[in-house]
C-alpha cells in the first residue's frame, strides 16, 4: 500500500510545520506518536490482512468522486475565505528566554492547569487498549 508511505511523508512534513511554528517538543512527540506508533500499526494491519485486489472492492464511480471532490473544495473555500478576509496579523515576536514550546513550558501547563485532563487521557488509553484487545481477539469465550 503506497498510501501508507505517502502518509509517512505527510506526517514527517507536519513535524516540520510544527518546528517552523516553534513547537519543538510537539514536533518530537508528533514523530514519535504518528510515525512511531500509528503508522507502524497501519503497516502492521496491512501486512496482517494481506489483502488481495478483489477483497478491496470497487471504488465509487468517477461521477460520485467528482461530486465529493466538489463538496470538499466548497468546504475548503468556506473555511479559506473568512481566513483571507480576516487579515490576520503576522506572528508576534517570541519572548527572549526561548522557552516557548519547550518541554518545560508545555509540561508546566500539562501538570498544573491541565492536570485533570492529562490524567483522564490515561483512562482513555487504558479503555482503548482493552477495547482493541477484546475486539481483535479471535474468540472471547469458550475454547480457542
Amino acid at each position: 500500500m503506497y498510501s501508507a508511505v505517502w502518509l509517512l511523508i505527510c506526517f514527517l512534513s507536519f513535524a516540520g510545520v510544527y518546528l517552523s511554528l516553534s513547537a519543538p517538543f510537539l514536533a518530537a512527540i508528533h514523530v514519535l506518536v504518528y510515525t512511531g506508533a500509528i503508522l507502524v500499526l497501519f503497516v502492521f494491519v496491512i501486512m496482517l490482512l494481506n489483502l488481495r485486489d478483489e477483497e478491496l472492492g470497487e471504488e465509487y464511480p468517477a461521477g460520485t468522486r467528482f461530486l465529493a471532490a466538489g463538496g470538499c473544495t466548497a468546504l475548503f473555500t468556506l473555511i479559506a475565505v473568512p481566513i483571507y478576509e480576516a487579515h490576520l496579523p503576522g506572528m508576534p515576536p517570541l519572548p527572549e528566554d526561548g522557552h516557548f514550546g519547550s518541554i518545560e513550558s508545555v509540561g508546566n501547563l500539562l501538570f498544573t492547569v491541565y492536570g485533570l485532563p492529562f490524567e483522564l487521557v490515561s483512562v482513555l488509553i487504558i479503555v482503548a487498549m482493552f477495547g482493541a484487545l477484546v475486539l481483535a481477539k479471535k474468540k472471547l469465550w469458550g475454547p480457542a
Partner: protein, 99 residues
Amino acid sequence: MTEYLLLSAAIFAIGAYGVIARRNLLIVLMSLELMLNGVNIALVAFSRGRVDADPTGQVFVLMVMAVAAAEVAVGLAIVIALFRTRRTLDTNDLHQLNG
C-alpha cells in the same frame, strides 16, 4: 498566520474527501488521521500567534494526539475483526447495521 490556517484548512478538506469518497476502510481511517492533523496545525498556529506566548494550544494538541492514538487502535481492531468475519473492507458491503 494566514498561510498556516490555509494549510490546515486544505489538509482538513483533503482528509474529508478521503473519508467521503473512498470505500476502503483502511484509507478512510488514514484520512481521519489527516483531518485530525489539519486541526492540530491550526491549534499550534493559534498558540504561536498569541502575543503573550502562552503554549496552551500545544497542550490541546497533545490531548488530540492521545485521542487519535486511541481512536486508531480501536479502529484497526474493528478492521481486523470485520475482515475476519466478512472478508471485505468495502464500506458499502458493511451495511448490516443499516436496519
